[in-house]
């Protein structure tokens, strides 16, 4: 039997290859670094990721190229997602440099695990096959489990890690089962081949097969777990509350971005034949997620936990865009690319905003005072108007208030919903988004309208320049994207142009 050498082009997969090299470099360099200088690993990772981000930028506009026997695809869509992942990584590291010391988790492995997670995300973004997507997902997930439980001396963090791991492993199993069933029915794991197998008269028979529908439900649930859509969200509030704050920020943005990218590829490319069914499922999940995420957030007294619920709610808005992208006219499925570009824009907007909101928590955090309760923010707006204002900007953006990035993002998402006549979805979505203002502004109220208690510790923000720089950039970006979103919208549009 002749040996067939698969087509492998490392240059197409340059970001992944580069990241793998970077990981090795950091791991080795870590061996020669003393405990006090572990932040150097962060700086090294930061520099490496910044270079890789430039490489991705360089690949932009190169058209779709596949390699690794079709397991891997590099196109503008994947480049867009990768850029967001890299940017999130950069900000996460910036926010972690000093924070890791505060939480006494200043090990080289901390940064290595972040890079590993990012590696998984890149693979998910470029996965062109259910297997490669699954592999990426697992790489990302396992690294996240470790990261969540990284504060070993804190039982809360350990508990969070264990919960996340058990639920996540369970979800991966479900997803894998769905993939296996799909393979059994269609004989393929490649996204395009699955689509071919499901088209035509023969394909229609397979698509209607109850087993196929069941496998699709499993895949939806599997991704639902990873994205924490209600009712698969149970792990998230605990995981985020226990995790190091910078990791909660990282996960809320990057994990979401990568999972959404995988969902877009899997459902829009492999399963258009089943669009009516998965769209209905997602419709329900979206409504549950938007409503419950926002309602549950109202009751929280811990700011980190509130942001966790808010991030569930935001997953709902993102899914709203995906649902609204699909329009079924007389049994025929039509996809609106503008819906996907709205989703991508929203993710960018959400990135700058949510990283900023979590960043504020890190800014207040110090060794003997975590500052993640809403009460801890009492009176801060009065004594530190600039810090208070930055937080207000992030809250306004999270609540979808003009002129911030979040507003434009929601406008585009709801615009797609209106365009494709998902009126109820739009109404439910926008009303829940108005509800969200209530709990965001409760914090604003505490910050500005209630005096700081006598017994409360004095306010002392972190003096680390890295955190300060990150927050300033994020505030400016949040407002800038609200005022001048044009270039990002155009980029998002062109990135999905070749996809559908």
């Amino acid at each position: 039997m002749p040996l067939v050498i698969p087509d492998i082009s490392l240059s197409i997969a340059a970001p992944e290859v580069g990241l793998a090299i970077l990981i090795c470099v950091v791991v080795i360099a870590d061996l020669f670094t003393s405990m006090e200088n572990k932040a150097g690993m962060g700086v090294l990772s930061l520099a490496g990721v910044a270079i890789l981000a430039l490489i991705v930028l360089f690949q932009w506009g190169g058209g779709a190229q596949t390699t690794f026997s079709g397991f891997y695809i590099a196109d503008d869509f994947s480049s867009f997602v990768k850029l967001v992942v890299f940017l999130t990584t950069i900000f996460t590291i910036l926010l972690s440099l000093q924070y890791a010391k505060v939480e006494k988790i200043n090990y080289g492995e901390f940064y290595v695990m972040i890079l590993f997670a990012a590696f998984g995300m890149l693979v998910m973004a470029s996965g062109n096959d259910l297997i490669s997507i699954y592999l990426g997902l697992e790489t990302m997930s396992i690294s996240s489990y470790v990261l969540v439980s990284f504060i070993r001396h804190d039982p809360l963090s350990r508990e969070a890690g264990l919960k996340y791991f058990l639920m996540g492993a369970f979800a991966s199993g479900i997803l894998l089962y769905g993939i296996a069933l799909t393979y059994g029915l269609t004989g393929a794991t490649s996204l395009t081949e699955i689509a071919t197998a499901l088209s035509g008269p023969q394909g229609a028979a397979i698509a209607d097969d109850p087993v196929m529908v069941f496998s699709m439900i499993l895949i939806v649930s599997g991704f639902g777990f990873k994205l924490a859509l209600v009712p698969f969200h149970m792990w998230l509030p605990d995981a985020y509350t226990g995790a190091p704050t910078s990791i909660a920020a990282f996960m809320s943005v990057a994990v979401k971005m990568a999972t959404v990218a995988a969902i877009i590829r899997v459902f829009f490319i492999a399963f258009p034949a089943l669009a009516g069914k998965w769209n209905l499922l997602f419709w329900l999940l979206t409504v549950f997620t938007m409503v419950w995420g926002n309602v549950a957030a109202i009751a929280q007294t811990n700011l980190k936990r509130m942001l966790a619920y808010s991030s569930i709610a935001h997953a709902g808005y993102i899914m709203l865009g995906i649902v609204a992208t699909t329009k079924i006219v007389g049994g025929k499925v039509v996809f609106t690319p503008d819906g996907l570009s709205a989703v991508l824009f929203y993710l960018v907007a959400y990135m700058v905003t949510n990283l900023g909101a979590f960043g504020m928590l890190i800014y207040l955090c110090r060794e003997d005072f975590r500052g993640d309760n809403i009460e801890d923010w009492r009176g801060i707006g009065q004594d530190h108007p600039w810090a208070g204002m930055a937080f207000v900007v992030f809250f306004l953006s999270l609540g979808g208030f003009p002129p911030t990035a979040g507003f434009v993002g929601k406008l585009l998402l709801f615009g797609t919903a209106i365009q494709n006549e998902y009126y109820w979805l739009a109404v439910i979505g926008i009303l829940t988004s108005a509800i969200s203002i209530y709990y965001y502004f409760r914090v604003v109220m505490v910050m500005y309208m209630e005096p700081r208690g006598e017994s409360q510790p004095a306010i002392e923000f972190s003096k680390a320049p890295s955190i300060f720089v990150a927050l300033v950039v994020l505030v400016i970006a949040t407002i800038y994207l609200g005022l001048f979103p044009g270039s990002i919208i155009t980029a998002a549009k062109s990135s999905v142009a070749g996809l559908l």
Binding site: Q382, P385, V392, L396, G400, F401, P402, P403, F407, L411, L412, F414, G415, I418, Q419, Y423, A426, V427, I430, L431, S433, A434, I437, Y438, F441, R442, M445, Y448, M449, E450, F484, P485, G486, I489, T490, K493
Partner: protein, 522 residues
């Protein structure tokens, strides 16, 4: 220069706020006050050309500035004023001076933030009235909520936190639904109208009548919720008394004088011309709510024991009048509604100022605490009397002109409408006169009141422009009406263009012909 004038007016307060934030220390309270006042005065001076150089024969937008802003989704930075908005812009710039000056002694803590909020408020409101692009309009419309939230929540009364969040959420719920309406309009235009993605109002005006009535009704309802909460129309008014009572004086003045006008303005600017058939279809419904608002607001006002609350409920009643005029859908009605918006801003704004003056002295607003004030505060009593009479609609003062026009408009639409509206006027006179009697006449038996001092020169100074305007509009309304006529005529023409059979009275009016209302000839 002409092109940048509106931008300059709208963003001068914002620039002032930024300078205040960056270059002033908290302790420099006097400098902060002087600077904030200077900014509002400069802004007013800048807005004077809008009065002098306004072309009264032009129905469309003037002083236009249009720059492409977010071309990918068809958003432009498009400012302009026409007869419907120009007076509101001027009212805003005047009110802002008054609101700033009246706060000098009333606000004694965190002054810097306070004046920053006031100035931000000004930019939001001016932008709302100037925006011709719906996206831009929405941005400004929403922005005003944030500084107002802080004004009520930080410098408000006892239940300020509750009032602030109630105000915020209530108006937000309305405006987000309106956003869906805006988006629907935007996509309808793509299908039925120009086929382009645009938020440009002048282009969207063309598509309005082509929208099928079913969809038009839904869009109408979306806009209705947004604007009716802002106005506020019955039964969406419950946030208003709370917000008014808890807000500091300047907050109440801005709220009554300008913020509420954003709702009524929205109806005239967007709802009537963009959704003509739906507007006509909903006339009975809208008129019913307006009349309930007029009578209910007046009755509840009568029962109040707190002066500020009484004035707040009188706003509900007065804005019911405005809405009645607007939904008469004829020249006189809308013209009257427009003028009454200005009048209400002046009269009710002045009433809130007067309430603020007495509150600063006595720290109570209970009517029963007062009595016989006329003997210790003659100037105050005189100004209060003029303002009250203006609010009631005494001939010779501004309220009369507006109410008369509204009644003429309502009468033309239906006798029934006018009949109910007249009841409201009678009730309005009743609660105001009764209030006046209880506060100013009778014996000065409360020893606390005997120590009261009359208005200071500063107080007289900021009340004076209001009083002058009351007389000016009351005696010679011509310059005000002439500025609005052409644009109002255009709206009337647009809303009646479909000539829906369901409203024959409105359609029977020669569309667009500027019928000279009798009211202007007295």
């Amino acid at each position: 220069m002409e092109n940048f004038l509106l931008t300059l007016i709208a963003f001068t307060p914002l620039a002032g706020a930024v300078i205040l934030m960056l270059f002033f220390k908290r302790e420099q309270t006097v400098a902060i006050k002087v600077f904030a006042t200077a900014v509002t005065v400069v802004d007013f001076l800048l807005s004077i050309p809008l009065w002098t150089r306004f072309d009264t024969s032009e129905a469309g937008f003037q002083f236009v500035q249009k720059v492409s802003w977010i071309p990918t989704i068809g958003v432009s930075y498009f400012l302009g004023v026409d007869g419907i908005s120009v007076l509101l812009v001027l009212l805003t710039t005047i009110t802002m001076i008054v609101a700033t000056v009246c706060s000098f002694t009333a606000i004694v803590e965190r002054e810097k933030e306070y004046y920053v909020c006031l100035l931000l408020m000004a930019t939001g409101m001016l932008g709302t009235f100037m925006a011709v692009d719906i996206f831009l309009f929405y941005v400004f419309f929403e922005i005003t909520l944030v500084p107002m939230y802080f004004l009520i929540g930080i410098w408000g009364g006892k239940r300020k936190l509750y009032a602030a969040i109630k105000f915020f959420l209530y108006t937000l719920f309305g405006s987000v639904l309106m956003l869906l309406g805006i988006l629907a309009l935007y996509f309808v235009n793509l299908k039925l109208g120009t086929g382009t993605l645009t938020f440009d109002l002048t282009e969207l005006y063309a598509v309005g009548p082509k929208i099928p009535i079913g969809l038009q009704s839904w869009i109408f309802l979306a806009f209705f919720v947004g604007f009716a909460i802002k106005v506020p129309m019955f039964p969406f008014h419950t946030w208003l008394p709370d917000a008014h009572v808890e807000a500091p004086t300047a907050g109440s003045v801005i709220l009554a004088g300008i913020l509420l006008k954003m709702g009524t303005y929205g109806f005239v600017r967007f709802v009537l011309p963009l959704l003509p058939q739906a507007s006509q279809m909903f006339v009975p419904f809208m008129v019913l709510l307006s009349i309930i608002g007029i009578i209910y607001g007046a009755l509840v006002a009568m029962a109040q024991t707190d002066v500020k609350k009484l004035v707040a409920y009188s706003s509900v009643s007065h804005l019911g009048f405005v809405m009645l005029g607007v939904f008469a859908l004829n020249q006189q009605g809308i013209l009257g509604g427009q003028l009454q918006m200005i009048n209400h801003g002046i009269s009710t704004g002045a009433l809130f100022l007067l309430v603020g003056i007495i509150y600063e002295r006595r720290h109570t607003r209970e009517i029963s605490e007062f009595g016989g004030l006329s003997s210790v505060m003659p100037i105050y009593t005189t100004i209060f009397a003029i303002t009250m009479l203006s609010s009631i609609g005494l001939p010779g003062l501004n309220g009369f002109v507006g109410e008369f026009l509204i009644l003429v408009g309502a009468f033309k639409a239906s006798y029934v409408y006018a009949a109910f509206a007249v009841i409201g006027i009678v009730l309005g006179a009743a609660y105001m006169l009764w209030l006046f009697q209880r506060m100013f006449f009778g014996t000065l038996d409360n020893p606390e009141n005997q120590k009261l001092t009359d208005c200071t020169p500063r107080e007289i100074l900021y009340l004076l422009p209001m009083v002058v305007l009351m007389f000016w509009i009351g005696l010679y309304p011509r310059p005000f009406l002439s500025r609005m006529e052409a644009s109002v005529g255009k709206v009337v023409k647009m809303v009646n263009v479909a000539a829906a059979p369901m409203n024959t009275k409105a359609a029977a009016l020669p569309a667009g012909v500027r019928t000279q209302p009798k009211a202007k000839n007295f």
